[in-house]
């Protein structure tokens, strides 16, 4: 369990990093917190010829409120543990705050980065589903400039994103929670800290006793984070109730075609998707009324 030979760069500035990426993009891999990439290299499953370590780029860290408080921006290299404990996140993006303890273990969150998890695009990871449920957007930078990618366009397949080889994820912007909103996250994993067998993130917005907006995203049921439009369709325009939640949750199976693996069959995953969707919607509705 030793990696093959690779070249290692640790640029001091973002420009330097982007130049290296422009030069080596196809053979290079960006090293953020290393919590997924380094094990994959030790197993020789990933064999990058070049590693570009972003650890020194303070430009990519930090959490701030933007647009008069409409959005919260999180630098891609911000450690997950920092996000978890940050007062701005707790107050304005509480779904992220609530989800963070489900991400692996504190030791891993101390090293793992927010953007690293998003860009790694593991279908069993929590943060991509949360990004999708929140409808956030991703800032991609390259030597040639920058562009914004909406969450629903960011994930393109198994461990794949819309980032080009010469681009890196610099930051994400997440909408702040507003009045009348409820949210929740839950998952089922074999042990605390494991990749989930299934997980669900949900966000609801109600006005005048009716669901005005809803978004639901699941993890571990497809090639990437998976939206649940069938659930949303049933919720929107209705007054939230236990029956509505239950009917909506049952519809989640229309939106997923989950894989089977050693720990969960497709049938069990579908069952979990329904159960967990009902649980998060119930919790989210409680938060609206509470």
């Amino acid at each position: 369990m030793k990696p093959p030979v690779f070249d290692y760069f640790a640029p001091n500035t973002l420009d330097e990093a982007l130049s290296l990426l422009a030069e080596h993009g196809d053979e290079a891999k960006v090293l953020a917190g290393g919590q997924s990439l380094v094990p994959a290299m030790n197993f020789r499953l990933a064999r990058p010829e070049i590693l570009i370590d972003l650890g020194r780029l303070s430009e990519l860290t930090g959490i701030e409120r933007l647009d008069g408080g409409q959005n919260v921006r999180i630098g891609a290299m911000t450690r997950q543990r920092t996000v978890e404990r940050h007062p701005l996140v707790r107050k304005h993006v509480p779904l992220v705050h609530e989800t963070m303890p489900w991400v692996a273990h504190p030791q891993i969150r101390n090293r793992g980065t927010f953007g690293g998890s998003l860009a790694h695009a593991d279908p069993a990871a929590e943060l991509p589903a949360v990004l999708l449920a929140l409808g956030g957007r991703c800032l991609a930078k390259s030597r040639d400039g920058e562009r914004w990618i909406d969450a629903q366009d960011f994930y393109t397949g198994l461990f794949e994103t819309a980032l080009e080889p010469h681009e890196l994820l610099a930051a994400v912007e997440l909408p702040s929670v507003g009045p009348g909103e409820g949210w929740a996250f839950t998952e089922m994993s074999r042990r605390h800290g494991d990749f989930a067998l299934c997980g669900v993130a949900a966000r609801l917005k109600a006005r005048d006793g009716v669901v005005e907006e809803a978004s639901v995203a699941l993890l571990s049921v497809g090639d990437g984070p998976t939206a649940a439009p069938s659930v949303v369709e049933i919720l929107v325009g209705q007054a939230p109730s236990a029956e509505l939640v239950s009917t909506a949750a049952d519809a989640v199976v229309n939106d997923i075609d989950p894989p089977g693996d050693l720990h969960a069959t497709p049938a069990y995953r579908r069952h979990l998707a329904r159960t967990l969707t009902r649980r998060v919607l119930t919790a989210a509705v409680d938060r609206i009324s509470g």
Binding site: M1, K2, P3, P4, V5, F43, R44, M188, R190, R191, H192, G193, D194, F195, L197, V253, I256, D257, L262, H263, A264, T265, P266, A267, Y268, R270, H271, L272, R274, T275, L276
Partner: protein, 786 residues
């Protein structure tokens, strides 16, 4: 008798070193010029080796040597058969042993084919990847029940089939009781046991000193003396030229007593050939395929009972998976066969097992060593019979216990040590009563606790006995040094059991020295070279009693000498705080260190026949093993929406005879229960039809964490063993053995409204979902959801 140190919950002497990272493990050994070794292992479960080309690997800068089977010449021999055919009438046994490097054929994924020696492990692994091996794949034998089909390929070409062994043991006549039985419960059971997954993987450093003509080996073995003797023989050296050190070991649990692992045979040979020290540290990916496993047995078993639930007889037929080779003989299936009987009076028993070769990693004992499988079958049969008879699970067990006056109880079977299966002593009912009380069966039945509507609670209780402390023997040398330090040296290895404390307590008790001032050395053949090793819950029993005997001999020497010097009769003396003194007269005393100096005169004359020093070497070997026993109970909560299971409370009441250190015992039990919970609900080695291991990492092979294992509430019953002076029975495996049986019972109880029978271990949320939904009608609605 009032004791000073023996029996006290003393903190462990070794923990400071262990917890501050200052203990010596094999990977801490670094020698000048040391080279590093990596293996090229088989990617195929079964196949013929057509060609091996090592040229590219040899050319890589930093590579020193690459060896294949061809290079080993006559050194390429199968490993020894550790246990011969059991002396059981009609037993069929076809042992086939592993070789250092595969030649002609590979028989399991991970079998070593070539070995690379390089300046670093990184280079060695890069080079191993460059070794080209052309293998013609053969169909893999994976399925136990299909292994003996005539059209299944043979794993060992010289055998008639994949049959490794067939053994029948019986007492009484089961068939004669079937007709007159009130009920006969018959089921098929599947019990799988996983891997030890010790925190420290295996590792070896070998260093041949050509000037000194000495070979030094550091090895993560549980049996350093046997390793030394075996290697000396293989390498053509005198035993006194080979030193094997088993330093601190981060968990052994059984697989580290398998011998000889290919790596263990190769590293010393390489060091002698190259003249440099060499190191190999197994990585976790290797550990999954190269260190031995335990795995599944499939049982077809029947229990015949009368109308009162009294056992009339048991019949059991099972298949056991040996893996690709079986150097360890039949220890595991014989343990299953014998341990099934438990603490019960079983007048008629017929047990037949078939051992088959498969294209998987070797199976050798892992904590419990087949006992889990037997206990599961018996305990489940009792539960099922209780249900049919309308008895509760406690009562059916109580009615069948061997009574306290039944001991010694000879079952008339042959045990794993090839002596008769005789229970030395036991008293089972008090332990059951304590466990019933601690888990609060009565409180559970009254249903006082409130739970969420989608959750169900269940409670369970199971019993077991464990044959422990088998022979042949161990020895110990106790020395009082002139500094006053006492040293205790014994041959057993240590894998974290607390020997540095418990042996010190045994010795300190007899010679009046605080155990923190006693230095225990284990597992260094240069300091002690007689003994068998630490396995089968025997360290405390056999080596502990050897320490006790040696301490008594030293005590005699101290008293004789002190009596002369203090001019007092020996019976008036006492040994306290490192001194010999006239009872109650601290002024008339002499330090043990001073006595030790005087016992080693530098000038003058001594009486002819005088032995110098305050030192004794003594041995202990029990007539046969002693029988520990216990009761485990637990309460679980099952979430009927996610099928997750949470253990709410866990109770162990245990009888391992006299207890040396209750704190260490508690740790042993807690750790065993943790491994048992892993076995019951988290861990399972999974193979594909092609013999590929499907979950060879800790991401997919799930060990329970501290969050999944409850704190065990424990209590003891002490029924001393009559077979050794200290009355000790083994405790190493007690925590792990009955957990699967208990888990099944408690979960089944929680799901009593669903009417589910649980006849298999391990379980998982996914498996519970399948068991509940694959029944008629439900599966189809589930599937239609997509």
């Amino acid at each position: 008798m009032e004791t000073r140190y023996f029996g006290k919950p003393l903190k462990r002497n070794e923990d400071h070193r262990l917890l501050t990272g200052k203990a010596l493990f094999v990977d801490d050994v670094t020698l000048p010029g040391m080279l590093h070794v990596a293996f090229k292992r088989s990617d195929f479960a079964h196949g013929r080796i057509l060609e091996i080309d090592v040229q590219a690997a040899l050319e890589r800068p930093g590579v020193v040597a690459v060896y294949t089977a061809e290079d080993l010449g006559d050194y390429h021999q199968p490993g020894p058969l550790l246990l011969p055919a059991p002396p059981i009438e009609g037993a069929v046994f076809h042992p086939r042993m592993q070789v250092p490097l595969a030649k002609d054929k590979v028989r399991h994924v991970g079998e070593p084919i070539a070995v690379v020696v390089a300046r670093s492990r990184y280079i060695a692994e890069d080079a191993a990847e460059e070794i080209f091996v052309d293998i013609e794949p053969l169909d893999a034998v994976v399925d136990l029940e299909g292994a003996l089909d005539p059209d299944t390929p043979k794993i060992h070409d010289d055998l008639e089939s994949n049959l490794a062994a067939h053994v029948v043991q019986s007492k009484g006549d089961f068939d004669s009781v079937v007709d007159k039985a009130h009920r006969v419960v018959r089921r098929r059971f599947f019990y799988d046991h996983g891997i030890a997954a010790a925190m420290e993987n295996r590792g070896i450093v070998a260093s041949w000193d050509a000037r000194d003509q000495q070979l030094e080996i550091w090895d993560t073995t549980q049996a350093p003396i046997a390793i030394r003797n075996g290697l000396a023989g293989m390498l053509g050296l005198a035993e006194s030229q080979v030193r094997v050190v088993a330093p601190f070991i981060g968990g052994g649990f059984g697989p580290k007593i398998m011998m000889f692992y290919p790596e263990e045979v190769l590293l010393p040979w390489i060091s002698m050939r190259l003249g440099w020290p060499v190191k190999w540290i197994e990585d976790r990916a290797e550990n999954f395929v190269a260190t031995t496993h335990e795995r599944a047995q499939i049982h077809e078993a029947a229990l015949a009972v009368d109308e009162n639930g009294k056992i009339l007889g048991v019949e059991d037929t099972f298949i056991h998976d040996a893996g690709a080779y079986n150097p360890y003989g039949l220890t595991v299936p014989i343990n299953s066969q014998c341990t099934l009987l438990g603490p019960y009076d079983v007048p008629n028993y017929r047990s037949e097992f078939t051992v088959v070769y498969t294209n998987k990693t070797l199976v050798t004992p892992y904590r419990g060593a087949g006992r889990q499988h037997g206990v599961f079958v018996m305990e489940r049969l009792l539960d099922l019979a209780a249900k049919e008879l309308g008895l509760d699970v406690v009562e059916i067990r109580r009615r069948n216990f061997l009574p306290p006056d039944a001991f010694p109880h000879d079952h008339g079977l042959i045990y794993q040590d090839f002596s008769s299966l005789v229970y030395d002593s036991g008293n089972y009912e008090p332990a059951l009563d304590k466990a019933v009380k601690l888990i609060d069966f009565a409180g559970f039945e009254s249903g006082s606790s409130e739970i969420e509507p989608h959750k169900r609670r269940g409670i369970g209780i199971v019993c077991y006995v464990e044959g422990t402390g088998i022979g042949p023997y161990e020895g110990a040398k106790v020395t009082v040094e002139p500094s006053g330090t006492v040293s205790v040296v014994t041959g057993v290895g240590t894998q974290g059991q607390g020997h540095f404390t418990s042996f010190a307590q045994v010795v300190g008790e007899q010679i009046g020295v605080d155990p923190t001032k006693i230095r225990v050395v284990t597992g260094d053949t240069r300091l002690f070279h007689w003994g068998a090793g630490t396995f089968a819950s025997r360290g405390a029993v056999v080596a502990g009693n050897a320490c006790h005997a040696a301490a008594l001999d030293v005590r005699k020497k101290i008293l004789k000498m002190a009596g002369e010097l203090l001019e007092a009769p020996e019976e008036d003396l006492e040994l306290v705080d490192g001194k010999a003194q006239v009872k109650g007269v601290p002024a008339k005393a002499i330090e043990l260190g001073e006595l030790a100096s005087l016992a080693n005169p530098m000038r003058g004359a001594v009486e002819p026949g005088t032995e110098p020093g305050l030192e004794a070497t003594t041995y202990f070997g029990p007539k046969h093993g002693s029988t520990a026993s216990g009761v485990h109970a637990m309460e679980v909560e099952v979430d009927l929406e996610t099928y997750d299971v949470k253990i709410l409370r866990y109770v162990v009441v245990h009888d391992c005879g006299t207890v040396i250190n209750p704190l260490i015992l508690e740790g042993q039990i807690q750790g065993g229960v943790a491994q048992g919970i892993g076995n019951a609900f988290y861990e399972q080695i999974l193979y594909g039809d092609d013999g590929q291991l499907l979950n060879g990492s800790f991401m997919d092979y799930l060990l329970p964490t501290s969050m999944d294992v409850p704190n065990v509430v424990g209590d003891h019953v002490e029924t001393p063993s009559p077979l050794n002076p200290l009355g000790i029975k083994g405790a190493g495996e007690a925590g792990a053995i009955p957990v699967g049986a208990l888990f099944a019972q408690a979960v089944e109880h929680a799901l009593r409204d669903e009417g589910l029978e649980i006849l298999e271990i391990p379980l998982s949320p996914n498996r519970l979902f399948e068991l509940l939904h694959d029944r008629e009608g439900i599966a189809s609605t589930e599937e239609s959801g997509s």
